[in-house]
């Protein structure tokens, strides 16, 4: 009797486990371009975003998505009246669209930052620059990734 119950419990547990596994595989594991659009909208609000002014430097081909060098800059006099307030970086196919937000003031001298990012897929990276006059500018860069980041087992 006891053995019987434990066998049934085991089978039910196994079935539940399989069901759970199926659910997990159905859920997309990356952000979609739509989610990136939403993330960008959260930052810029209803303001228009114009292409240009921002310079986004990424290698066109990256062998290791775990560490991809990124440099982003905007030509600006960086005075109290005219400076870059922030630069935001987004991806379309990482598990979440936000990558990093840099915030500057006139004392930054140059609006230029370098860092290393993770890319989960071959995709397009977008940088949005926010100027002190309230305008938004953008640049994109396409990167081919051979070894994807984020999703490997530990």
């Amino acid at each position: 009797m006891d053995r019987e119950t434990s066998r049934r419990a085991f089978l039910m547990g196994a079935a539940a486990g399989l069901g759970l596994g199926a659910v997990i595989t159905v859920v997309p594991v990356h952000a979609t371009p739509k989610e990136m659009e939403d993330a960008v909208r959260k930052v810029v609000g209803s303001a228009p975003v114009t292409k240009g002014r921002v310079k986004l430097e990424l290698p066109p081909l990256s062998e290791n998505g775990n560490t991809v060098p990124l440099t982003v800059s905007i030509e600006s006099p960086m005075t109290a009246a005219d400076h870059v307030r922030a630069i935001h970086v987004f991806t379309e196919l990482n598990p979440q669209p936000d990558v990093v937000s840099f915030r500057f003031g006139p004392r930054a001298g140059h609006a230029r930052v370098s860092t290393r990012i993770r890319l989960a897929n071959t995709q397009t990276v977008t940088a949005i620059g926010e100027l002190s006059d309230g305008s938004f500018w953008s640049a994109t860069a396409a990167v081919v990734v051979t070894l994807a980041a984020c999703l490997e087992d530990a």
């Binding site: 598990p95 990093v100 004392r107 930054a108 860092t115 290393r116 530990a154």
Partner: protein, 106 residues
């Protein structure tokens, strides 16, 4: 606890734009990875990096899981006066680290 490295020029002319390089050891666990048994590894990242120059904030970065392990950030600032640049990293699980560098402006 954490190993932080900062590179700030020791001397600069007044008004010169200096480049600051920072590196800190941290796994930046994304929260999306799983162990071989399928258990999700909880997120453990640095969320915020702030640089202050003699107490005034000059640069700030909000980090997300898409920043590579051992966050490396290079930025610039204007050498206005002699003093201290203080760096602070804060993150998940109460993570906090500070580092500072002195600069002589002539």
């Amino acid at each position: 606890m954490a190993n932080a490295l900062v590179n700030v020029p020791a001397r600069a002319r007044r008004g010169e734009i200096i480049e600051v390089k920072t590196l800190i050891s941290h796994p930046m666990e994304t929260g999306y990875r799983r162990t071989q048994l399928g258990a999700r590894i909880p997120r453990d990242i640095i969320r915020l990096f702030v640089c202050t120059y003699n107490g005034t904030e000059v640069f700030r970065a909000e980090l997300h899981p898409a920043i590579a392990a051992n966050p490396f950030v290079v930025f610039s600032t204007v050498a206005t006066e002699s003093g201290t640049l203080a760096f602070q990293w804060t993150g998940d699980n109460g993570f906090s680290a500070t580092e500072s560098a002195t600069i002589t402006v002539e």
